[in-house]
Symmetry: C2
Subunit: 191 residues, 2 copies
DNA sequence: GCTTTGTGATTGAACGTTCATTCAGTCCGA
DNA sequence: TCGGACTGAATGAACGTTCAATCACAAAGC
């Protein structure tokens, strides 16, 4: 029971690292297996095929993001503070888990992210949706569609993390500019 | 001379359509060739290999976006109007050229978009950079790094186009919400 | 306590397919 | 007649997937 879940996680983690470095197609099943310390065939005990391995990773990552952000949310704060917290936690998560970030960012814009996947319930998106819906109910943010809001905010966090990653040296001194973006978005959505 | 360029364009266009529909790896060279009405080998007259075909497409798309947006810019307007124009034109371009959009969005987050590519001069990014730099010089937008500004704005346009595409039915009545985003960003960056 | 049997995970070589790339031969315009 | 573009069958490497064999271990039987 226990080691089975461990092994599945191990396979996912191994694929995650390879995909972040080489992209979906720079990571053959054989390499994932080697990296995870199992035989190629073993992967097919846990996943039907390579595609469902990738979907599995996506669901795993979404779950991890949600856990990280949700458990650091504090409903007793003002919604403004909760928003900044959300922003910071999401950023932190990506920076602590670069391979999760690399995977997620690629996945969202890939053809794996089919309509079917998009309309499946998803731990992280559901959380984000509920979060912004609450903000609206509390009367603290504008009555925009919560789906639009969550995509908007998540996209901007993503792109800031990407900027930090790609322009590390050039922007070292003025990361402040990037933090400005969160104020910009908050000012835009608050009532 | 003439038909050579035509053929190259034709190959690029053919690959563009296939990639948008099936992703980078759902488009074998043989299929690109068939779609373009040439033999597989011919592609290697114009591109060294498949990777450089993809880089070639990227450069082509960047050039097309720049052309579209640049030739509709009007320096005699207020910078605010120019900003809204920029926003609208970029959105229009993507909607008129869904396969360019599909390709570009995938490419940006793929491992093809290496550090090397990012630091190569690029018609579209250079234009966007110069555009926002001018806004700063005119004192109409905040003194943020123009690179950050252009990535920020382009990312948000991208994600709005994606929302429109994916949630066409659900949001049909209230596309207004999406237009709100441009005001939100403008209010955030203006001085 | 020891052996047998059953179950299901694990292995990795082998298979068949797909695909990028090559190249000998052909075509065509100058 | 020459030179470069073009063709598309051939090549061979890479890869996802399968499966017969092996292993680990627990339950059953003695």
């Amino acid at each position: 029971m226990h080691s089975l879940l461990d092994k599945k996680k191990c396979i996912i983690q191994s694929a995650l690292d390879l995909i972040q470095e080489h992209g979906f197609h720079g990571c053959p099943v054989s390499m994932v297996a080697k990296n995870a310390g199992v035989a190629a065939g073993t992967i097919y005990t846990y996943f039907e095929n390579k595609d469902s391995l990738i979907i599995g990773i996506y669901e795993y990552v979404a779950e991890e993001i949600k856990k990280y952000v949700a458990e650091r949310d504090d409903a007793s704060l003002t919604f403004k503070d909760r928003f900044y917290n959300y922003w910071k936690n999401l950023t932190d998560f990506y920076e602590l888990n670069p391979s999760a970030y690399g995977f997620y960012d690629q996945f969202l814009n890939s053809p794996f992210n089919s309509e079917e996947i998009q309309h499946k319930p998803n731990a992280w998106l559901d959380f984000a949706y509920a979060f912004f819906e609450e903000g609206i109910k509390l009367g603290e943010i504008k009555e925009l569609n919560p789906i639009v809001l969550s995509i908007l905010v998540n996209t901007n966090v993503n792109s800031i993390v990407r900027i930090k990653k790609n322009f590390k040296k050039k922007l070292a001194r003025n990361n402040m500019e990037l933090d400005e973006i969160s104020h910009l978005i908050w000012d835009g959505i608050k009532t």
